[in-house]
């Protein structure tokens, strides 16, 4: 049974508390996979951990492989080096391990391996938070065609991305018009969506990714795209495309990325409806209006114009050049996601709010998940309400 009475987690640590936890964790209580997860979350290598503890990288490798458990003083050192409570390294909590090969990274080639590992560990932690909240709150049932128990059954949806997008619109009752809030719609159908700066300064190299290999599909959107709500919506639709189309195939194929883009374009702007509205010559005024009405970037509409044949290839290239010039003049400036509440993930925070009304506190939840309070706030996407002290 988890002790949820310790409010000190994530706050001022009194001397001796973590040492006691370290003693309890050592030996049979140590969970090797938790060390790997904590190290990946910290974004460091085994060698970095070994150097900070004054041991060899081989020793850290043995701890993670489970062949030799670390001593209590090493548990304390690991907790300090990785900025986690010592109890985080203990057995006894539900753990869903996600293989790196089971997540579709938007920019797989651009994402360094260490950041990919961090992103995967973050996603595992998001699932643990979801599970902890789902024990208390009834979340929307997962309604993703073909999805069951962390698997996508092939054949449930058309394999062609355009047909799949049309079919998903039909199944989700979206009609053929604009989608006023895509992220919220995904959450209503049981998908977990997050938008937090888990990768810090490396966020831009991680980009967005998604997985259908956990008990709930998870889409991770990154704040580097959140300065442009249209780009953000397209990214969310792109990841939804991966979940619908590529659940049972290995990620990393460029063809899959193209298909996810085609899915996103058809989902956000169904060809049958948008084509008659597109200008027959490059008219940025019309495109700007359509962009605002449909919640897609002007670039996406220019691309659509070429796709449906309303403009020629040279006109398409000129349009992008002209667009770049106009952007330099502050025209077509992006609008941030903060102006569109329906594109900001809310499900987990609302679930916590309700759990809180029923007696759960942040420190209790942090203790249950064995994370520090700042980490839990990050996972929930809530700000620290305390004023920040700045020494001048």
């Amino acid at each position: 049974m988890t002790d949820t009475s310790n409010p000190e987690i994530g706050q001022l640590q009194l001397l001796g508390i973590d040492e006691t936890a370290a003693t309890a964790v050592s030996g049979a209580g140590f969970e090797p996979a938790r060390l790997t997860q904590a190290r990946r979350l910290a974004g460091v290598t085994k060698k970095t951990v070994a150097d900070s503890l004054g041991v060899s990288p081989v020793a850290v490798g043995q701890w993670e492989a489970g062949t030799h458990p670390p001593r209590p003083d090493h548990i304390t050192g690991l907790a300090e080096a990785l900025n986690v409570p010592a109890a985080c390294l203990a057995v006894g909590r539900p753990y869903a391990r996600l293989e790196a090969s089971a997540a579709h990274f938007r920019s797989l080639r651009r994402t360094p391996a260490i950041q990919r590992a961090k992103a995967i560990a973050f996603t595992e932690q998001v699932w643990e938070l979801t599970y902890a909240l789902e024990k208390r709150i009834q979340l929307p049932a997962v309604d993703l065609p073909g999805f069951s128990a962390g698997e996508i059954t092939s054949g449930a949806m058309p394999s062609d991305p355009v047909n799949a997008a049309q079919e998903l619109r039909r199944r989700w009752g979206l009609g053929t018009g604009r989608i006023s809030q895509l992220v919220r719609t995904m959450e209503h159908h049981g998908l977990i969506v997050t938008l937090v700066p888990f990768a810090g300064t490396a966020t831009a190299t991680v980009d967005a990714f998604s997985t259908s290999h956990l008990p709930r599909p998870i889409v991770v959107l990154t704040p580097d795209r959140a300065d442009d709500v249209y780009r953000h919506r397209f990214t969310a639709a792109h990841e939804l495309g991966h979940l619908v189309l590529h659940g049972d195939t290995a990620p990393g194929d460029t063809q899959q990325e193209k298909e996810a883009d085609q899915f996103a374009a058809e989902l956000l702007t169904p060809a049958a409806v948008i084509t008659p509205l597109l200008p027959t010559r490059m008219d940025f005024k019309i495109l700007d209006r359509l962009s605002q009405e449909w919640g897609v970037a002007v670039e996406s509409l220019v691309y659509r114009c070429r796709e449906v044949g309303t403009i020629s290839e040279p006109a398409y290239r000129r349009a992008f050049q002209r667009l770049a010039q106009l952007r330099k003049l502050n025209l077509f400036q992006p609008e941030p996601v903060t102006g569109s509440p329906g594109e900001n993930p809310l499900l987990l925070r609302r679930a916590f709010d309700l759990a809180e009304k029923n007696g759960l506190t942040l420190p209790q939840l942090a203790d249950e998940l064995k994370v520090k309070l700042p980490r839990l706030r990050l996972l929930l996407g809530v700000d620290d309400p305390r004023p920040r002290l700045t020494l001048v």
Binding site: A102, T130, E134, A149, G150, R184, P341
Partner: protein, 146 residues
């Protein structure tokens, strides 16, 4: 509008006065030209506000209004960057504010959402976990080692 040819001496009084005023203005401009420089102020804007403002020498090239700027200096904008609509970064304080766009994609989106969430009985097992317990995908390992 009907336009007829008329001898100059038959111009109505108002039109005559306008001609006189224009001639005086041209004479003043010629004097000013001798004393200094005539600069033209130009700006670009849309409904969100002024995008750029500046001044310089302007030369009219044809009857269709095409101009050439042999010299142009951008003037500093004193508004606060980011005051434009939805924080677009335009200097919206200088121009007319655009109200809520009723045709914007999210204009009819609800402002708040509780997802219809309800507390669960403490004895219930989360649906997603109860499903996964019977079928574990290769990429996922559930462990509960207590």
């Amino acid at each position: 509008m009907e336009v007829r040819d008329r001898p100059q001496d038959q111009l109505p009084e108002g039109e005559d006065a306008a001609e006189t005023a224009r001639a005086e203005e041209e004479a003043v401009l010629k004097e000013l030209e001798a004393l200094g420089r005539v600069v033209t102020i130009g700006y670009s804007s849309n409904t969100s506000g002024v995008i750029e403002i500046g001044w310089g020498d302007c030369e009219l090239l044809d009857d269709e209004g095409h101009v050439r700027w042999p010299h142009w200096e951008t003037l500093p904008m004193t508004g606060t960057l980011g005051e434009g609509e939805n924080g677009t970064g335009l200097w919206g304080a200088h121009g007319p504010k655009r109200g809520p766009n009723p045709t914007r994609f999210d204009a009819d989106a609800p402002l708040d959402d509780d997802f219809g969430l309800t507390p669960r009985s403490p004895l219930d097992v989360p649906r997603s976990v109860s499903r996964s317990a019977t079928s574990r995908p290769a990429a996922m390992v559930m462990s509960r080692c207590d």
